[in-house]
């Protein structure tokens, strides 16, 4: 994998910029400048946290960075990770926690190699009331997710069955995360930082076609999809 000097990640607490700690500071700064330039306007209104990894930033370097961030339209620097502001957000990001979490759930898991940057967990059974799956990647359930069951995933959630429980996709702030199910009747749906619940009236899935819930302009929107589309989305991650 090519190492990048600056990696952008959306989290619940804002935009996390992870700086590579092996490159020269100057190099990192140039890269960051170029990236911000390229994404002009895209991160409108974002609160930025800078994670400098193992690198110890000097006061001067911090000043340079904060000047750079604040000079961009709509961006405000919230702080540096070593200021402990974003501690929780960052520990969640660390990939080292992945295998541990998967083991905790004691579930059958297969990683999809290079197809998607996030690993995929397959659950080949029903998830029942009181069962909770937390995974730093995508989750695919071949079975039902019953009321009272919970899935919390950093990536997307696909249920090949009926989804009646609670799902939180893109828990680390991924606005592009989606939830798809053959029958989408969740008690509550969360994508990134947006929460929604089913309407009070009995809104059963109308025609048995799979549905996808995703974020559109800050709202969770449910739309129909053909099975082919669903599968291709999984592949693309």
């Amino acid at each position: 994998m090519v190492r990048e000097e600056a990696v952008f990640k959306g989290t619940r607490d804002g935009l996390l910029i992870i700086l590579d700690d092996h490159s020269e500071f100057k190099q990192v700064l140039d890269m960051l400048k170029a990236k911000l330039e390229a994404a002009r306007g895209f991160f409108q209104g974002a609160q930025v946290i800078i994670d400098s990894g193992n690198r110890k930033l000097t006061g001067k370097q911090k000043k340079t960075l904060s000047k750079l961030i604040n000079s961009q339209t709509g961006l405000t620097l919230k702080g540096f990770s070593d200021d402990k502001i974003a501690e929780t957000a960052i520990t969640k990001e660390k990939p080292e926690t992945k295998p541990k979490e998967a083991e905790e759930q004691n579930l059958f898991q297969v990683s999809f190699g290079q197809v998607s940057p996030l690993p995929v967990m397959f659950i080949n059974r029903n998830l029942r009331c009181g069962q909770r799956v937390k995974f730093a990647g995508h989750v695919v359930v071949t079975g039902d997710v019953n009321p009272g069951a919970e899935i919390v995933a950093h990536g997307n959630v696909v249920v090949i069955g009926t989804l009646r429980g609670l799902v939180h996709a893109g828990v680390s702030g991924d606005q592009k995360a989606f939830v798809a199910a053959f029958r989408l009747e969740p008690s509550q749906l969360r994508i990134a930082g947006v929460f929604t619940r089913s309407p009070d009236e009995d809104a059963k899935c109308l025609n048995g076609r799979p549905e996808i819930a995703r974020l559109r302009d800050g709202n969770i929107v449910v739309e129909q999809s053909s099975t082919n589309q669903t599968l291709s989305l999984v592949q693309r991650g």
Partner: protein, 266 residues
């Protein structure tokens, strides 16, 4: 070598004890050797439902703690010759008085002697539940057609699956066909759709259960009771017999019943 069947539900009041008493009695009526084990330590009921309360000398905790031998604690039900026994729970202790290992050992011992060991599980998912399922070969999960009971049944089935219970079957209790027909009660398909386990029987709501319970005479002994018939069918299915579900439509008028008697109609 017999089989240990635990009757469980998660939620209280759905009819675990009634089910255990009736299935045990029905199996004994079919000439199987049966022992009923009340695992609800501290809140024992099975002895009352069976009408054997006044014959308790030793209880389950006395056996596991070595105060008496297993044989001494077993109460023989005189109505069924040598076929039905009860191991009552202790009333003055609580669930922590027994460990899952002790229950397992107890079940193993009872299995040698009896064809069926029926364990009446307490409500909840704590130690009492873990004790009751420890030595069981299969489980019958009792639920009623209510959202709360189905939710708890789902939780229990999840826990049973996690503890690698070989066979889990569902018994739907207290169903009221008229309410289901009007759409006011969950029907069997709704429940099966959510729980996704095999159905072993459906028992209709029946006022006679209350009378039978108070008298200490299980409903299966009453040949005219609908719920008794349903429990007898379940007992047959436990032994591997194929028995169709009985039709639930019952509230027939006098004429319909006459027609039925004369061979017309349904």
């Amino acid at each position: 070598m017999g089989e240990v069947i635990v009757v469980t539900s998660g939620k209280g009041g759905v009819g675990k004890t009634t089910t255990a008493a009736n299935l045990g009695t029905a199996l004994a009526l079919n000439e199987h050797r049966v022992v009923l084990v009340d695992a609800d330590i501290g809140l024992r009921n099975l002895d009352v439902v069976m009408g054997l309360e006044n014959r308790i000398v030793y209880d389950l905790v006395d056996v596991t703690s070595g105060v008496c031998r297993l044989k001494q604690a077993l109460i023989r039900d005189k109505r069924f010759n040598e076929n039905l026994f009860l191991l009552p729970a202790a009333q003055t202790r609580d669930k922590t008085a027994v460990t899952p290992e002790q229950m397992k050992a107890l079940d193993e011992e009872l299995k040698l002697e009896f064809d069926y060991v029926i364990v009446d599980c307490p409500a909840g998912i704590e130690q009492g539940f873990r004790n009751a399922i420890a030595g069981a070969d299969r489980a019958i999960v009792v639920t009623t057609p209510e959202v709360s009971a189905v939710r708890d049944a789902d939780r229990i089935i999840g826990l049973l699956e996690a503890s690698e219970m070989a066979e889990v079957q569902l018994l739907i209790n207290r169903i009221r066909p008229n309410m289901v027909k009007r759409g006011d009660m969950m029907d069997i398909d709704d429940i099966i759709d959510i729980l996704a386990v095999d159905l072993i029987g459906v028992v209709p709501e029946d006022d006679r259960i209350v009378i039978a319970t108070n008298r200490g005479e299980p409903a299966v002994l009453d040949s005219t009771s609908r719920s008794g018939q349903a429990f007898r069918n379940v007992a047959c299915r436990i032994t591997g017999e194929q028995v169709p579900l009985m039709p639930l439509e019952i509230e027939e008028g006098f004429m319909a019943r006459m027609k039925h008697l004369l061979g017309f109609g349904r």
